[in-house]
Structures are given as structure tokens and as C-alpha cells.
Symmetry: C2
């Protein structure tokens, strides 16, 4: 019951975490890129073109990268699962020994270690699941999660990236665009940092400042480095 | 012994994983950004400025972001650890019940569940460590890892990003720069994809193609979207 509740909670917050990850990265990198270019070029259209190219590149790299990472996790789990089933079949005594070692580490008596290993070995499926989680530390990944996660992160990155970029559509020069971009982006970074910290159970205001600071440092560094190159 | 060996193995591959993460992202996003701009601007210096600004922004966002994520993980672990110590002190019976529930899930008999809970509760430190790992699924994070990881990923991103960008230093126009950039970057993505897959235990050649494909798709998409904006 307790476990089930916790998993549900994690499930819904994973979706929110994906949004926040995509959006705060989408806010940070295009913001810093646009800021960097604003110090080095004289027209808004270069900033806009570079910004859009970055958003396309970043959302594909993060989304597709996240998708493939998720697929890899599933394949890794499945191949380890197959190996464990194979091992409890072929070398049951060695696998029992591994169960005992898990509990020896927590100071349980040898007598109790034996009993646990014996009882576990009566049900192969549960035995294998036990080994997956307690020996290898692997949780069964949700097979739909990779796709959902990729789409969520990619779309959030695009939306996040359009926030720092949009002022350049409406202003007449990059420095004026940069001013509005700073205001809009830093406010959004603060809000997303707040929610990100809430979701991960951290002090939200402190977390909001951290996320905002990363964006501000990245943008300032990009601005000054690009200025040096002029 | 077995466990110890596994942890050592993970430790060294985490460093390599950080290099590969930073470098393959550093290769992908600046490559795609430069490709996008190559289709839209007529001089190399804009591509170079935007590329450098992106590398600065991306390395700070990834490095600092990774550092803060690592710190958050440590703080989260420490606060949960404190809570578990508090709970075994205040409500030991409820905590014993939670131990039993962990084993009920794997089909162990109630009699054995009781015995495990009793023995575990004799040593508070081991009991708490057990709860951290098996109830909450939390592993003790390495306190130095956050800093090391941040520096490794950030530096690898910079080195990775300079590979797609360097052809634009030596060529006379963006399209010619793009041609050399494609060759250099796709070869490097393939090599890093190969090692990335080796490290994560996946089929290396297939993995190499996947990583290369993400880079190629991101670059092609950025190129065509930027062309549309012209």
C-alpha cells in the first residue's frame, strides 16, 4: 500500500520533472546564446535565426537523446533479467549464496540468511525480482516512459526556448531585445526553479535562486566571451 | 567482495560516462547550431561567435547544472537518513512493519518476516541503512562526485564543441566550413557513441549509429529550419 502510493506519486512527478527539466534547460541555453550574440551582432535577425537553430538542435538532442537513454535502460533491464533467470536455473546454489551475502552485509545471523535464501528460492519469479532489485539495484522501467519522456522534454525545451527569444521578434536592436529577454527569462527561471525544487523535495526559494543563478551566469559568460571575439 | 568489485567498476566508468556525456552533447548541439547558421548567414565569423557563445552557455548549464543536481542528491539523501534515524527511534514498531512489508512482497512467510525485522532492529545503523536502500531505494552518494562530475562534463562539452566549430576557423565560407564540420563531427560522434555503448554495456556498433544519427538529425533539422527563416 505504502509502496504503491509512493510509486503513483513518483509517476506523476516524473511527468512534471520532465517538463521542468526541458523548460529550465530550454530557458537557460537559448537565453545565454541570444545574450552572447546580442553583445556581438548588430541586427536581431541573426539572434533569432541562431536562437531558432539552437532550439531545434537542443530539443532534438534532448528529446531523442532522452528517448534512446530510456530504451537503453529497458534493454539493459531485460538483458539482466534474462541473465538472472538463467543463473537461478543453472547455478541456484551460487545465487542463494548471493542472497545470503546481501543480508550478511546488514548483520543478519547465518541461520536467518539460510532461511531467507531457502524460502526465496521456492518461487523463481519472486527470487529473480528480488535479485534484480536487491543485488543489482535495478527497478523495472516503465516501457512507455521513454517515448513520453522524450516528447515531454522536447516540447518543454521548445516552449522554454521561445521565452528568451521572443523579445527579439518585437524589438529594434539586440541590446533592447536582451533587456526584455533578461527580465522575462530570469522571472521564468525563478518560477521553474521554484517548482523544480518543490517536485524534488528541496527548499523551493533557495532552489529557485540556484536555477536563476545558473541562467544568469551562463548568459553573462556568453555575453562577455562573445564581446571579446568581436 | 563481489559488491566491492562492482562498486569500483562503477566508480571508474562514471568518470568515463561523464566525459562521454559531455563530449557527445558538446559535439551534437554546437554542431547542429553551426549547421543551422551555415544555411542562413554568409560569413564564418557569425557562426564562430554563435558557436563559442553556445559552448560557453552549454558547458556552464551542463556543468553547473550537474554540480547542483549532485548537491541536491546528497542533501536529499542526508535529510532522508536523518528522518529514518528519527523514525526508528520514535516509532520502531511501524518501521519494523515496513521491513516486513518489503519481504511480504517477495512471498516470505510471516514468521520469517518477523525474525528479519527483529534481528535488523538490533543494530540501528544497519537497520537505517537497510531502510534507505530497500524501502526508499536510495544509495549513498559520493560527496566528491558532484564537483568532479561538473568539471568533467563541462570540460568535455567544451572540447566536444570545439570539434564541429574548428573547421569554420580555417575555411572561407560557411558552406565549406559545414562540409568539413560534418565529416569531423560525424566521425567523432561515431567513435564516442561506440565508447558510450561499451561503457553502458550496449551493442557498441548499434549504439555508435544511434548517437551519430541524433547528431545528423539535429543538424539537418536546424539547417532546414534556419533556411526557412531566411
Amino acid at each position: 500500500m505504502h509502496d504503491h502510493h509512493q510509486e503513483e506519486h513518483l509517476g506523476s512527478s516524473e511527468f512534471i520533472t520532465d517538463i521542468v527539466i526541458g523548460m529550465s534547460d530550454g530557458l537557460t541555453v537559448p537565453f545565454a546564446l541570444a545574450a552572447g550574440l546580442s553583445g556581438a551582432v548588430s541586427t536581431n535577425d541573426i539572434v533569432v535565426t541562431a536562437g531558432i537553430a539552437e532550439i531545434v538542435a537542443g530539443s532534438i538532442a534532448m528529446g531523442l537523446g532522452g528517448y534512446l537513454a530510456g530504451r537503453t535502460e529497458i534493454e539493459h533491464y531485460d538483458s539482466e533479467l534474462k541473465r538472472e533467470y538463467d543463473e537461478v536455473e543453472r547455478v541456484p546454489e551460487r545465487e542463494k549464496q548471493e542472497v545470503k551475502e546481501v543480508f550478511a552485509e546488514y548483520g543478519l545471523s547465518p541461520h536467518l540468511q539460510d532461511e531467507i535464501a531457502e524460502e526465496l528460492s521456492k518461487n523463481k519469479e519472486k527470487w529473480v525480482n528480488f535479485m534484480m532489485k536487491f543485488e543489482l539495484g535495478l527497478e523495472k522501467p516503465d516501457p512507455n516512459r521513454a517515448t513520453k519522456s522524450a516528447i515531454t522534454i522536447g516540447v518543454a525545451y521548445i516552449i522554454g526556448g521561445l521565452i528568451p527569444l521572443s523579445p527579439y521578434f518585437f524589438t529594434s536592436n539586440p541590446i533592447s531585445g536582451l533587456q526584455y529577454s533578461c527580465i522575462a527569462t530570469l522571472v521564468c527561471l525563478f518560477v521553474f526553479g521554484y517548482f523544480k525544487s518543490k517536485v524534488t523535495g528541496q527548499p523551493p526559494v533557495f532552489g529557485a535562486f540556484k536555477v536563476t543563478a545558473i541562467g544568469a551566469v551562463a548568459a553573462a559568460a556568453a555575453f562577455f566571451v562573445a564581446k571579446l571575439l568581436e
